[in-house]
Symmetry: C2
Subunit: 262 residues, 2 copies
């Protein structure tokens, strides 16, 4: 497990037990987009408390329903064990700010490093230009300030108009290695693939985000691909693949979000 | 909404309120695979109770964590509202049998028929042979009895070895039209796409299943495609697309499951 000493991500997701199944922490300034904390960051914060609760290293499958935007400030996480089994522990939890629930989570934790072989990989990692040849995210949108990008080193490959695909590299600005907790953030740190469809670039609020962690990342930047295929009735899905530098798939993600108001 | 009169699915998912946030029902014989109730059926049973709780017609995004297999017999569903908003209601619930929790659910309900236009559909429905030219599921596996298939009319298109793809038609044996509740069942009613990979065909236990409902199905069989791309470390994902006969995408699904013991 990555040490929590000295890195911004670990400070910003630190939680302190305040009783059985209760933790306090803070949504830290600088992890936001236009004043509201990034959804992946908030999930990682809740995920750190729930990982403590589960007493297993990896968030195998985590689902969050987003209930309210969250500015910087103190938060409380509450959680309870649903089932502690031989191989997995399933937990549920909630992140609350000023008596308003921000996030409800249902998650199963385990250890992804103990799995057997017999693997079958039906597709390659994204074929990306070197990070130095990609564009930092902070210059991608223009309009809305993205302070989050001061914490991260997200580099975007060139997009193709109308593709519904955004690809690029994910890392931390301060060089923190990615662990499986950081994958919850990586799953929601890119500009919406919806923006490539030429239908405006307003806020795309996440209703629900599910992340499947499939392996522990090796050191180095993560190669990511996010795809939106179906925009219908005001809803869209965004599917993510996250690969580490050793060519292993480390996470899949899918979110359901609302299209921007037109 | 489809009337609940006289159809097997409605009888098998019927729930009766037994107090505030409590319902009783029964896992009905004949909806199983080898004695354990199908996971999509159990989710639809819990989903019917939670739909009552949410007081909104459609399960927009539903996540279930599977905690124990469930034979036929009485069950209790408990549920509580997480947030009742202007457009959506988020609920959580649990299905318990003999004091053992079978399923924990986190779900957001709403009305998928009120969405605005501006759609963008980045892929076609599966190109299937007519239902009469497809193979009923009950003869697909051979080994394990699939009583569930007496309730359903699932017809499989020819599979390609090594593809990781299973396609076919979903309907009810008694002709019940599919509504958005039935999509929870359809998402888990096909043989695992994993079976096409030639690595055995044992039990593929679902850890977590998420279904996004995207539209109300039109009458007629549903065209379905299920794909597994990444088998790694003992885990696999299976992604589903479900389309109705008017060519509309009606649901996306993704589950995380365990590979069979080898």
């Amino acid at each position: 497990m990555v040490t929590s000493e000295g890195y911004e991500f670990d400070a910003a997701t630190a939680v302190v037990s305040s009783g059985k199944g209760r933790w306090v922490g803070a949504i830290t300034p600088g992890w936001d987009i236009g004043g509201n904390a990034n959804g992946g960051y908030v999930l990682a914060l809740a995920g750190r408390a729930l990982r403590d609760l589960a007493q297993r290293p990896d968030p195998i499958t985590v689902t969050a329903h987003y209930l309210a935007p969250a500015p910087a400030g103190p938060v409380e996480v509450t959680g309870s064990v649903v089932k502690a089994g031989k191989r997995f522990t399933t937990v549920t939890g909630s992140l609350v700010q000023d008596q308003r629930e921000v996030l409800r989570v249902l998650a199963t934790f385990g250890d992804v490093s103990v799995g057997h072989g017999n693997d079958w990989i039906g597709g390659p990692p994204p074929d990306l230009p070197e990070p130095s040849a990609c564009e930092p995210r902070d210059t991608f949108n223009g309009a809305v300030p993205v302070p989050l990008m001061g914490r991260l080193d997200v580099r975007l490959a060139p997009t193709r108009d109308g593709s519904g695909v955004v690809e690029g590299w994910f890392g931390f600005a301060d060089g923190r290695p990615a662990d499986t907790l950081a994958l919850l953030l990586a799953a929601d740190a890119f500009p919406p693939a919806y923006f490539t469809l030429g239908r405006g670039a307003g806020w795309v609020p996440t209703v629900e985000l599910t992340v499947h962690v499939r392996a522990v990342p090796s050191p180095g930047p993560l190669a990511c691909r996010f795809t939106t295929r179906f925009v219908q009735g005001g809803f869209l899905e965004e599917d993510g693949e996250i690969w580490s530098s050793d060519g292993r798939l480390v996470a899949l993600s899918r979110q359901m979000a609302l299209t921007p108001r037109v």
